[in-house]
C-alpha cells in the first residue's frame, strides 16, 4: 500500500530542540575537555571563557527544553466543551 510522503510540515520546533539538546550536551562535555586541556597546558583559555562555555551549555539546554515543552503543549488536544 503506497502512501503520500509529506515533508512540508516538519515539526521544526522539535528538530531545533533536538539539535539544541545535542549541542548543549556536546558543549558540556567540551567544557570538561577544555578544563583538562587547560590543566595539561594544551589550551590557553581563561576561566571566564570556560564559564562562558558552561553558561552557553545551560542556555542551549534550557532553550531545547522550552522548545520541546512548547511543541508538546501545542500538540495537546484542546479541552473546549463540545
Amino acid at each position: 500500500m503506497w502512501r503520500v510522503a509529506r515533508h512540508n510540515h516538519l515539526p521544526a520546533r522539535l528538530v531545533l530542540a533536538a539539535i539544541l539538546l545535542k549541542l548543549s550536551k556536546h558543549t558540556a562535555l567540551l567544557l570538561s575537555l577544555l578544563i583538562l586541556g587547560k590543566a595539561t597546558g594544551r589550551y590557553d583559555l581563561g576561566e571566564p571563557a570556560l564559564l562562558g562555555v558552561a553558561i552557553a551549555a545551560a542556555f542551549l539546554h534550557l532553550g531545547a527544553r522550552a522548545l520541546n515543552q512548547r511543541a508538546s503543549a501545542e500538540d495537546r488536544p484542546s479541552h473546549e466543551p463540545r
Binding site: M1, W2, A5, A18, L29, L31, L62, A71, D75
Partner: protein
C-alpha cells in the same frame, strides 16, 4: 457483584429460633469481632426499620459502620423459618457497609431486594455453600439488575437519615461534611516537588556539568573558583528546568470541572445556595434546566426532566428521568447507572426541574469511582522505551568498561598521566554511548505523530506511536466508528411487499426497488399505500434537513431524520398545517400528528411508533389502494415481517393514519382520542449504515495479522448484522456474547473466547470493557481500544493504545486516551497502525546508522594502544566532532521516511521482538561499521603517502607521529592534516550510508523509489510554492502587575524572551518582504522550472525528496569547513588538506553506494541477505 462479596465461610445453614437469637449466629461470623457491640447497637437502634426489606420470607438486617475496609455480607438460611413479627423468615442476610459509602450501601440494598425474592426457593433448597454461591451467581445473571422501584423514598430517607421535606439540619450537615469529606474529586498522590527538583539537578546534562565541576577541584587542575561558578550554573539550570516541568495529568481536573460549583440545597427547611463541595449524603438539592448535577442524587420530585448524560455514558440523546414513587412507568430492570430515578454528578439537566436527595458525593459518586479507576491505573513504559533504556544502559556499561580498561592501560602501561588517560576514557565512552538515541527516537516518534495527524489520528503520548505498530487486537466501538452514526431507512414493508431503499447518509436522493426492479417517481405516486406511508413519514416528523457545503445536516432526532430523508427520496415535498402534536412517550411508544395537508380540507392523523404497540391501535389496513378491515391473518403477516426485519438488527417503526369522518368533527386531539381506529400503512426498517471504507480496513487488518473485536452497548442482533456486513471474522463463524454472559464466565473462559478469532461483545458496560482489555493484556496481546464516554476512561487508560473519538468523545475520554481520531473513523486506526509500523522500521534504520559510525571512532584508539609507535588517528575532540556533526540530523531524516510498500502485508511485530538484538549490534559495529572505517584509514594512509611519510607496505608507525604526551598544541602540521584526513571520510561515508538506508529493497536510482503519489505531491508543492508573508508579533509590556510570584516571574521571562527574539523576528520580516517582492519575477518561475527539471530527472528528485537528510548532509559539510578553516580548528585540532584528499575521501561514498545497490538488487530477487544488515 453480590457473589463477589459473599464468601463460603459466611454462609450459615439451619438457622433456628426467634429473630434476635437467630441473628446471633450470623453476627458471630462478622470479620471484626471487636466491633460487634457497635454492630449490635446499630441494629438495635434501627429496630424493625433495619429489616425493612422483608417481604414475608426474607430479612436483610443492615448497618453502616465507620472505618470498615469494604461491604460484608453474611447469609443465614432456614428451611422451617425463623420467627420475626408475624412472618417466618427463611433467608436472613446481614449486610454491613462502610458508613461513608452511602451510594454503595443503597446500590447493594436495591440489588439484594431484587435478587433474593427471585431465587428464594432455590436458595433455601441448597445444602452446601458451593450450591448457594452457584444459585446467587445464576440469579445475578438473570435477576441481578435492580428494578425501578426496589427502594421507596421512605426507605431512602431512612437509610440516609434525612427528612425529605426539611432536609438535614446545618449541624448534621457539618458533622457529615467532617465525617465524609467534601464533595470533590481527590488527586492520587504524585511525585513530591522536591524529588522532581532533585531529578533536574542530576539529569544527563547536569551530570556532564557535575563532571566539569569535579575536574575543577581535582589535584593538578586546581580551579576552585571556576568549579563553584559551574556549580551555580548547575543549580540555576536545574531550578529553571524544574519550573518548566510543572505540568501534569489533567484528567481529574477535567472531571472536577464537570461537577457544579454551586448548588441550591434545603437545610433546616430553608432553601439556600451553597458551594457544591459542602454537599453531603442526605442533602436535598434543587435542580433546574441547564444545571450541572453536583452529586449523585435520587429524584424525589421531577417535572419533565431530561438529562444529558453523555459525559458519563457517551450516549448522545438526552434521557428522561422520573421521580421515585410513581407507579411503575418503566418495566424491566436496569444497571445502577441506567436507573431512571437517579441523576449522577457530572451530567446536566437539559429540561425540566427536580428535587433530589444526595446519595453519593466526591470519590463515592459514580464519577468519583471513574476518577479513582483512572488514577489507579499506572501508565507503563512502552516496550520500545524499555528496550531502548536497557540497550543504552548495556552499551554504556560496555563502553564504560572498555574506557576504564583503556584508562588503566594508558595510565599504567602506556605511561600517560592519569588526567591524560582520563581524557581517553571520556573519548571512548562518548564514542560508544548512544546518548543521542533516546532524543532521536523521541523526535522520530514526534514526526510520526505529525504524519498521523494528517491521517486523522492525533497521538497524545509519543511512546504510543510505536506501540501502535505492534497492535495485535483492536477493540472497536460500533456506532460512529464502524458505522456512520446516522440512521437510514433501507427496507420498507408496505402493501405486503418488501421495498428496498438505497442512498447515502442524509442526502435525500436514492432509489426504491421491489425485487430488484426500480420504482419510478410516477410509480411511487400511483402506489397509494407507499405514497401515504411516505406522507406519514414526512408529516409525523419534527426533524429538519439542512443543506450545507459538505452535504446535508440533520437537525433533530436521527430516526426522524431517516424518515424525513426517506420521504424526500420518494418525492414528498410541500407544506402542511399542523393542528396538534402528541409527542413520543415511552409508555405509548408512539407519536402522532394531526394535520391538514396543503390543498386539502380534511384533517388526518399520522402516527408512527413501535410496531406492536402501533399495530394494536389499528383496525384497518391500506392494501391495493383501498382501506379494508385488518384481519388476524394480516396481523400475523405484519408481525412476522417485523420479526424478520428485527432479527437482522434493524430498528423497525410502524406507520399508520386516520382520516375518517368522525375525526373531521372531533375537536379533542389528545393521544387517547386520536390514536385509535388507525389504518395500518406499513413498516419502515432502518439501520446505521457502515462506513464505506471499513470493510477494506478490516481486510487490511486481517492481512496484517490484527484481530478486530467489536465491543458495543447496542443489541447483539444489530451488532452481529454490522459485524457480518463489514467482514468481521473473515470466513470463520462470528461469536457473539452479551455483557451479562461474560459476567458469568470466569477469567479462563473469557480468555479462551478472546484467544480465538474475532468476536462481538454486545450490551456491555464499561466494567466489562475494562475486564476484556485487562484479560487481553494478560494474554500478551497489544490492545487498541476505542471509547467516547467518561465511563470508557479506565479502559482507555488501561489499553496499550486508548483511542478516543474526536467528534463524539468527551474531554475526559480524550484526556485518558493515547490517541484521538478526528473523524471517529475506524479506517484512521488502521492508517495509524501503518504509520506506527513505519516508525519502528525507521527507528531501526537510524539506529543502525548511528551505530555504524562508532567503529570509525574506536579503531584509532585500539590501534594506538595495541601497536606502540602507531600514531593516534582521531583525537577525543574528533570523536566529539563526529558525534555532533554526523549523527543527529541525518538520523532524524531517516526517522521521517514514509512507510515502505508491503508494510501492512507483514504480521504484527511481537512484543518481545528486540529492537536491538546482539546480532544487530554486532552487524552494525563490525560489518557495516568496519567497512566505513576502512575508507577512513584508506584516506588517512593516502594523505600520509602524498605528504611523503607512508609508502605501500610500510606500517602505521611511518605515519606522522602523535606529539609527545599527546600535547596537541605541539603537534606537527602533518599530524594535524592526517587527523583531518581520517575525520573527513567519516562524513563522506555517512552521506552514502544515510542515503542507502532510506530503503531496504528499492534502488535509490529507480523511478519506483518514490511512489507516484509522493512524487506528485512533492512536485505539486514545488509548483505552487509561494513565499509566506511574515509579520513579527511583538508585544512588549513594561508593567509587570501580576498578583502572584509565579505569574510575575513568568511575565518577566516573557518580556525577556520578547526582547531577545526581537532581532531575529526583524530579520525574518526583512527576508519575508524580500521574498514577497521577488515572488513574481524570480521565485515562482524558478520553482516551476525546478519542478519541471525534477519531473524529468527522477533520480535527482529521489536524492532531494527528504529535506532533513539533505539538510543534515549540508550541515556536516558546513561543520567540516568550520572545523578545518576557522579558529575552531585550534580547539578541535584539524588542519586543511589538499583538495584531492577531499576528493579521494569520496571513494567511500561511491563504494558504499555500489555495495548497497548490489545488496538491494539481490533482495529484489528474493535473497534476504540479513547477515549484511
Amino acid at each position: 457483584m453480590i457473589v463477589e462479596l459473599l464468601r463460603a465461610e459466611k454462609i450459615i445453614f439451619d438457622l433456628k429460633g426467634s429473630f434476635p437469637e437467630a441473628l446471633e449466629s450470623p453476627l458471630r461470623r462478622f470479620s471484626s469481632p471487636d466491633r460487634l457491640p457497635e454492630l449490635r447497637s446499630g441494629l438495635a437502634s434501627a429496630k424493625a426499620d433495619a429489616y425493612s426489606y422483608i417481604g414475608s420470607h426474607i430479612a436483610i438486617p443492615h448497618v453502616r459502620l465507620e472505618g470498615l475496609p469494604g461491604p460484608e455480607l453474611i447469609l443465614g438460611l432456614s428451611r422451617e423459618g425463623v420467627r420475626l413479627n408475624q412472618h417466618r423468615v427463611q433467608i436472613v442476610l446481614l449486610l454491613v457497609t462502610p458508613a461513608e459509602q452511602t451510594e454503595e450501601h443503597l446500590k447493594l440494598l436495591q440489588r439484594l431486594s431484587s435478587l433474593l425474592p427471585a431465587i428464594r426457593h432455590e436458595l433455601v433448597a441448597q445444602r452446601d455453600a458451593a450450591g448457594v454461591l452457584r444459585v446467587v451467581a445464576r440469579g445475578e445473571q438473570f435477576a441481578g439488575k435492580a428494578t425501578y422501584l426496589n427502594l421507596t423514598q421512605a426507605q431512602i430517607a431512612f437509610e440516609l437519615q434525612t427528612d425529605l421535606e426539611q432536609g438535614l439540619t446545618e449541624a448534621e450537615a457539618r458533622r457529615r461534611l467532617e465525617h465524609y469529606g467534601p464533595n470533590i474529586l481527590r488527586r492520587a498522590r504524585r511525585t513530591p516537588w522536591y524529588l522532581k527538583l532533585l531529578k533536574n539537578f542530576f539529569s544527563f546534562f547536569a551530570v556532564l556539568l557535575w563532571l566539569a565541576t569535579l575536574l575543577c577541584f581535582m589535584p593538578g587542575v586546581d580551579m576552585p573558583q571556576l568549579g563553584i561558578a559551574v556549580l551555580v550554573v548547575i543549580l540555576v539550570n536545574g531550578f529553571f528546568s524544574f519550573l518548566q516541568e510543572q505540568k501534569s495529568d489533567r484528567a481529574v481536573e477535567l472531571l472536577q470541572n464537570m461537577i457544579a460549583h454551586r448548588c441550591r440545597v434545603i437545610r433546616d427547611g430553608q432553601s439556600t445556595g451553597i458551594d457544591a463541595a459542602a454537599l453531603v449524603p442526605g442533602d436535598l438539592i434543587f435542580l433546574e434546566e441547564g444545571d450541572l448535577v453536583p452529586a449523585d442524587a435520587r429524584l424525589i420530585e421531577a417535572y419533565e426532566v431530561e438529562v444529558d448524560h453523555s459525559t458519563l455514558t457517551g450516549e448522545s440523546h438526552p434521557a428522561r428521568r422520573y421521580k421515585s414513587d410513581q407507579p411503575i412507568l418503566l418495566p424491566g430492570k436496569f444497571l445502577w447507572i441506567e436507573l431512571p430515578n437517579i441523576v449522577f454528578a457530572g451530567t446536566a439537566l437539559v429540561r425540566g426541574r427536580a428535587r433530589g436527595v444526595v446519595v453519593g458525593t466526591g470519590m463515592h459518586s459514580e464519577i468519583g469511582k471513574i476518577a479513582d479507576l483512572t488514577q489507579a491505573i499506572r501508565v507503563a513504559e512502552s516496550p520500545l522505551q524499555n528496550q531502548l533504556r536497557a540497550t543504552v544502559l548495556a552499551i554504556s556499561a560496555l563502553a564504560g568498561a572498555l574506557g576504564f580498561s583503556f584508562l588503566l592501560l594508558g595510565w599504567l602501561v602506556a605511561g600517560l598521566s592519569f588526567v591524560e588517560a582520563f581524557v581517553f576514557f571520556i573519548g571512548l565512552f562518548v564514542a560508544n554511548v548512544p546518548e543521542g538515541l533516546l532524543p532521536t527516537v523521541t523526535l522520530s516518534l514526534a514526526m510520526g505523530v505529525t504524519r498521523m495527524a494528517k491521517r486523522n489520528a492525533l497521538v497524545k503520548s509519543l511512546p504510543s506511536v510505536e506501540t501502535l505498530g505492534c497492535t495485535t487486537v483492536i477493540c472497536s466501538d460500533k456506532t460512529g466508528t464502524l458505522t456512520q452514526n446516522l440512521m437510514m431507512v433501507n427496507h420498507l414493508y408496505v402493501d405486503a411487499q418488501s421495498v428496498e431503499v438505497s442512498g447515502v447518509g442524509y442526502m435525500p436522493r436514492g432509489e426504491f426497488s421491489v425485487e430488484g426492479k426500480k420504482i419510478s417517481v410516477e410509480g411511487i405516486s400511483s402506489w397509494a399505500a407507499l405514497r401515504r406511508l411516505l406522507e406519514c413519514a414526512f408529516v409525523c416528523n419534527n426533524a429538519r434537513l439542512e443543506k450545507t457545503v459538505a452535504g446535508y445536516r440533520l437537525v433533530g432526532d436521527p430516526t426522524e431524520g431517516a424518515l424525513l430523508c426517506l420521504a424526500e427520496k420518494g418525492g414528498i415535498r410541500g407544506i402542511h398545517h399542523r393542528l396538534h402534536l402528541n409527542p413520543f412517550d415511552s409508555l405509548r411508544k408512539r407519536m402522532s400528528v394531526v394535520a391538514k395537508l396543503e390543498g386539502r380540507q380534511q384533517k388526518t392523523v399520522y402516527v408512527k411508533g413501535a410496531p406492536l404497540e402501533t399495530l394494536a391501535c389499528c383496525d384497518r389496513i391500506l392494501a391495493g389502494g383501498v382501506s379494508r378491515p385488518l384481519e388476524n391473518a394480516d396481523r400475523q403477516r405484519i408481525i412476522a415481517a417485523n420479526d424478520a426485519l428485527a432479527s437482522r438488527g434493524l430498528r423497525v417503526l410502524a406507520l399508520a393514519y386516520r382520516d375518517d369522518p368522525e375525526l373531521q368533527t372531533q375537536e379533542a386531539y389528545a393521544a387517547e382520542h386520536v390514536e385509535n381506529r388507525l389504518v395500518f400503512l406499513g413498516l419502515a426498517a432502518m439501520s446505521d449504515p457502515i462506513r464505506p471504507q471499513v470493510p477494506e480496513a478490516i481486510r487490511a487488518c486481517h492481512g496484517a495479522g490484527i484481530r478486530v473485536l467489536m465491543i458495543t452497548g447496542d443489541y447483539a442482533l444489530t451488532a452481529a448484522s454490522i459485524g457480518h456486513e463489514i467482514g468481521l471474522g473473515a470466513n470463520t463463524p462470528l461469536s457473539i456474547f452479551t455483557g451479562a454472559e461474560i459476567s458469568e464466565m470466569g477469567d479462563d473462559k473469557v480468555k479462551a473466547i478472546l484467544g480465538r478469532g474475532e468476536s462481538i461483545f454486545a450490551r456491555v458496560s464499561p466494567e466489562h470493557k475494562l475486564r476484556i482489555v485487562s484479560l487481553l493484556k494478560e494474554m500478551g496481546e497489544i490492545v487498541a481500544v476505542t471509547g467516547d464516554g467518561v465511563n470508557d476512561a479506565p479502559a482507555l487508560k488501561k489499553a496499550d493504545i486508548g483511542i478516543a473519538m474526536g467528534v463524539r468523545g468527551n474531554d475526559v475520554a480524550k484526556e485518558a486516551a493515547h490517541m484521538i481520531l478526528t473523524d471517529d473513523n475506524f479506517n484512521s486506526i488502521v492508517a495509524a497502525i501503518e504509520e506506527g509500523r513505519a516508525i519502528f522500521e525507521n527507528i531501526r534504520r537510524f539506529m543502525a546508522y548511528i551505530f555504524n559510525s562508532n567503529p570509525q571512532e574506536m579503531y584509532p584508539y585500539i590501534l594506538w594502544m595495541l601497536f606502540p609507535g602507531a600514531p593516534l588517528a582521531m583525537t577525543v575532540m574528533g570523536v566529539l566532532a563526529v558525534d555532533v556533526g554526523t549523527d543527529l540530523i541525518p538520523a532524524m531524516g531517516l526517522g521521517m521516511e514514509p512507510p515502505e510498500k508491503g508494510l501492512m502485508e507483514r504480521p504484527a511485530r511481537r512484543r518481545e521482538e528486540k529492537l536491538l538484538s546482539l546480532e544487530f549490534i554486532l552487524r552494525s559495529y563490525f560489518l557495516q561499521g568496519s567497512l566505513l572505517a576502512l575508507s577512513c584509514f584508506a584516506t588517512y594512509l593516502y594523505t600520509g603517502w602524498i605528504l611523503g611519510y607512508w609508502r605501500p607496505g610500510s606500517g602505521l608507525s611511518s605515519m606522522p607521529a602523535s606529539p609527545a604526551g599527546l600535547k596537541l598544541s605541539q603537534a606537527s602540521s602533518a599530524y594535524l592534516q592526517t587527523l583531518t584526513a581520517y575525520f573527513f571520510p567519516t562524513v563522506t561515508t555517512q552521506i552514502a550510508n544515510v542515503l542507502c538506508k532510506r530503503s531496504r529493497k528499492t534502488s535509490l536510482f529507480s523511478r519506483d523509489f518514490l511512489s507516484p503519489l509522493s512524487r506528485g505531491e512533492i512536485l505539486r508543492a514545488l509548483r505552487t510554492w509561494r513565499p509566506r508573508p511574515y509579520v513579527a508579533q511583538v508585544k512588549i509590556d513594561y508593567r509587570i502587575t501580576a498578583a502572584t510570584q509565579p505569574e510575575a516571574t513568568r511575565a518577566f521571562f516573557a518580556l525577556f524572551t520578547q526582547l531577545a527574539l526581537l532581532p531575529f523576528k526583524f530579520l525574518l520580516m526583512v527576508i519575508s518582504r524580500g521574498g514577497m517582492i521577488l515572488e513574481r519575477p524570480v521565485l515562482s518561475p524558478l520553482a516551476a522550472r525546478l519542478a519541471r527539471f525534477l519531473e524529468r530527472h527522477y533520480v535527482v528528485l529521489n536524492f532531494v525528496s527528504n529535506p532533513l537528510i539533505d539538510l543534515g548532509i549540508l550541515f556536516e559539510l558546513f561543520l567540516c569547513y568550520l572545523f578545518f578553516y576557522t579558529p575552531l580548528s585550534r580547539i578541535y585540532y584539524f588542519a586543511p588538506v589538499p583538495w584531492h584528499v577531499y576528493l579521494f575521501a569520496f571513494h567511500g561514498t561511491v563504494l558504499l553506494l555500489v555495495f548497497e545497490e548490489a545488496k538491494k538488487y539481490y533482495r529484489r530477487r528474493g535473497y534476504l541477505l540479513n547477515f549484511l544488515g
